[in-house]
């Protein structure tokens, strides 16, 4: 008796202690908050979509450490890191286990040349390496044998000033080998070069927004005052990526926190969709104090991840925001700090398989994040919807709801599927949870019509009964009144 009691106690203590460890482990695994914004732009904490997987410094990869690395690019067979401070481009294999090549010298017209500040890097479909060198003011195009096949420098055009100092920062190439370049201080837009390296046009110019009120004050102020006011200059571009269809995703500074990403079609028009909120700039709710941690997100890079999904990187608060093709915010992860898995100065983002790579110039590391079940379910469901396969997405959305029942997009997806299948009542329930007024109203209108059709006989009968009762009661009252009046008359 005593012994069994003791064993029970022991087992209980063991279970309790393991439980405690479990919760502790769960609470300490993530060094950052994962959250999303609900219909009212309030923060809702969500499960993590991506968790830190690993991080690679130069030494751990088998070479010397990176110095101020600024860009990373993933091609079909290799990962390229622009190691800006060491004037080299490091080529890694896709498993990030070994260094395939270190590109620091190359042949240019028979001479051996070196980089001085390789700032942006990318690879074309023909496996040519494009390197934007900031201090040499050139874009080098190298083939696999490190021979220069093309040099882009000093663009000549009527629309460019003669004294324009061409300082390329980031570079991207599309399927037709058109070259897109983000140049320092060039606010007119992305510079576009054809496959021969000739400047063709500017791309995606951001128009300056001045409110009526600001214009009014500028009219009133004197020349001296005006010279001391803030200049209304279009913002600078920060990063870019090209999707397989040739759409160019660009990021820019936006201190208002309204739009920090553009999706440019081949004509250079912005065709991005901004979702229900109409805002696509990272954090929606932020304070506006003077501290470095406040204000709108500083979006520095974008990566197109396939099936309409793209992620943007905020260097101010070290967060990665992921959107779908309709501009819905899917999930947020990442944070600044000094723990493993947090950033100090994130500069570039790329996708490697189903993992996300973030290059940190401060930590001098390439950081890898892997998706959790939650993240991959969302990716897959959004992808299915992008492909037009909404009914198949429903199962995945259900699983997402099991992990996070507040996820509005999942409720919306399920509700819309119910709507198509004709189950209006269920559709109303889920669309109500998703706060989707438009589709809720469609479901509700159908439901209301059905209800009216089914209950019309009762409604009409009810109305007739009420009318009859009213008439009868009125007549009885009249008769009573008449009788009492008659009585009174008789008495008189």
């Amino acid at each position: 008796m005593r012994k069994s009691f003791k064993t029970i106690l022991l087992v209980a203590i063991l279970i309790i202690s393991t439980l405690g460890e479990c919760t502790m482990a769960f609470a300490t695994t993530l060094p950052y908050d994962t959250y999303n914004y609900d219909y009212w732009d309030d923060i809702v904490y969500t499960p993590a979509a991506y968790v830190p997987d690993n991080s690679y410094s130069g030494v751990s990869l088998g070479t010397t450490n990176f110095t101020n690395p600024q860009d990373v690019y993933v091609s079909d067979d290799a990962v390229y890191v622009a190691d800006t401070g060491n004037a080299r481009v490091v080529k890694l294999n896709l498993e990030l286990t070994e260094v395939l090549d270190i590109i620091d010298t190359f042949n240019y017209e028979g001479e051996e040349m070196t980089f001085s500040e390789p700032y942006g890097v990318c690879v074309s479909n023909e496996n040519k390496l494009y390197v934007a060198d900031r201090s040499q003011k050139r874009i080098w195009v190298l083939d696999e044998d490190k021979n220069v096949t093309l040099v882009v420098q000093d663009p000549q055009s009527e629309i460019i000033d003669d004294d324009f100092d061409f300082t390329p920062l980031k570079v991207a190439v599309d399927y037709a080998n058109r070259i897109y370049v983000v140049a320092a201080g060039k606010t007119e837009g992305i510079l576009v070069f054809d496959s021969e390296g000739n400047f063709t046009s500017f791309f995606g110019t951001i128009s300056v927004k001045i409110s009526v009120w600001e214009r009014f004050w500028r009219k009133l102020s004197t020349r001296a005052q005006r010279s001391r006011q803030i200049l209304y200059i279009a913002t600078e571009f920060t990063g870019l990526d090209v999707d397989p269809d040739g759409f160019v995703y660009t990021t820019n500074y936006d201190t208002a926190g309204e739009q920090a990403v553009m999706k440019l079609n081949p004509k250079g028009e912005d065709v991005i969709r901004k979702g229900e909120k109409g805002v696509i700039a990272g954090d929606i709710a932020f304070s506006n104090s003077s501290s470095a941690y406040s204000g709108a997100s500083t979006i520095v890079d974008v990566v197109y991840r396939g099936r309409g999904i793209y992620s943007i990187l905020d260097s101010k608060r070290g967060r990665v925001f992921t959107y779908d093709s309709e501009g819905n915010l899917l999930y947020i992860f990442g944070g600044l700090g000094s723990q493993a898995g947090t950033f100090s100065q994130p500069v570039a983002i790329e996708q490697l398989g189903d993992k996300i790579l973030v290059l940190d110039a401060g930590r001098r590391e390439l950081m890898v994040f892997k998706s959790t079940e939650y993240g991959s379910l969302i990716n897959e469901a959004v992808g299915l919807r992008y492909d037009g396969d909404e009914t198949q997405a429903v199962d995945l959305w259900q699983k997402v709801l099991e992990l996070d029942e507040n996820f509005e997009l999942a409720n919306d997806g399920i509700g819309k599927a119910y709507l198509t299948s004709g189950d209006n009542e269920q559709a109303m329930k889920y669309l109500r949870l998703a706060m989707d007024k438009k589709y809720y109203s469609i479901a509700f209108r159908r439901y209301r019509n059905e209800w009216l059709k089914g209950n019309l006989q009762y409604i009409l009968t009810g109305i007739i009964v009420v009318i009859i009762v009213w008439i009868v009661v009125r007549n009885i009252l009249k008769m009573k009144k008449g009788k009492s009046q008659m009585k009174e008359g008789m008495l008189l």
Binding site: D42, S441, I442, F444, R445, R448
Partner: protein, 213 residues
């Protein structure tokens, strides 16, 4: 039992409805024949606050953008009553100077009774909102709008009648009432600030003594 019957037969109890349909006569009788009741006016204000909060919580999400979790009916009740009292005090202080005939009691009654149309329209609007879809919001907004407009009209007529003002003078007094309200708020805020400063002064002396001894 008889008492309860007598209570419900009391003419004063149903008088807000008489005012609702015969505003000019009704307000005149409130002023000159004591047909109004201050507790009843407060009760109507309470009802209005309740309807207001309920509308924000219950009205269908098609017409209602409020997060129901953030609605606190108690703070809203306090805010409504405070605003009501502030308006009445402001109006009283202005009309006193401008030769209005109404007593403070009359102002309280008139403003309270003027809220009846809003109470009467918020509830059906709430019910209707459950049965409408997008693009049909007009039904809801029109009902609410009519209630609010009629309430404003009643308030205007009431203040005009009890003070025996012309329409123009009433409008001017209402404008001045808002000015008076702002002045009252300003004075109250300044007073609390000064009092808190005095308090912190004495509190620091107390602390000093406490630490030195």
């Amino acid at each position: 039992m008889n008492k309860i019957k007598a209570f419900f037969k009391n003419e004063k109890l149903w008088y807000p409805f008489h005012v609702f349909s015969h505003p000019m006569d009704g307000f005149y009788e409130i002023r000159h024949r004591n047909m109004g009741s201050v507790p009843l006016a407060f009760f109507l204000v309470f009802c209005y606050s309740l309807c207001f909060s309920m509308n924000r919580i219950v009205a269908s999400f098609v017409v209602n953008d409020v997060d129901a979790r953030t609605v606190n009916s108690l703070t809203e009740l306090i805010a409504v009553v405070m605003l009501y009292l502030l308006f009445c005090v402001g109006n009283w202080s202005v009309t006193c100077l401008m030769g209005g005939e109404g007593r403070f009691k009359d102002i309280l009654i008139v403003v309270g009774y003027a809220m009846l149309p809003m109470i009467l329209t918020y509830i059906p609007a709430m019910i209707i909102s459950q049965g409408i879809a997008a693009n049909e919001e007009a039904f809801y907004t029109i009902i609410i709008g009519i209630g609010t407009a009629y309430a404003l009209l009643l308030g205007l007529m009431g203040i005009m009648t009890i003070h025996n003002f012309t329409l123009g003078k009433t409008l001017i007094t209402i404008f001045l009432t808002f000015v008076a309200m702002f002045i009252i708020i300003f004075v109250v805020v300044m007073l609390t600030d000064l009092v808190s400063q005095v308090y912190s002064f004495f509190y620091s002396i107390y602390l000093e003594l406490l630490y030195r001894s």
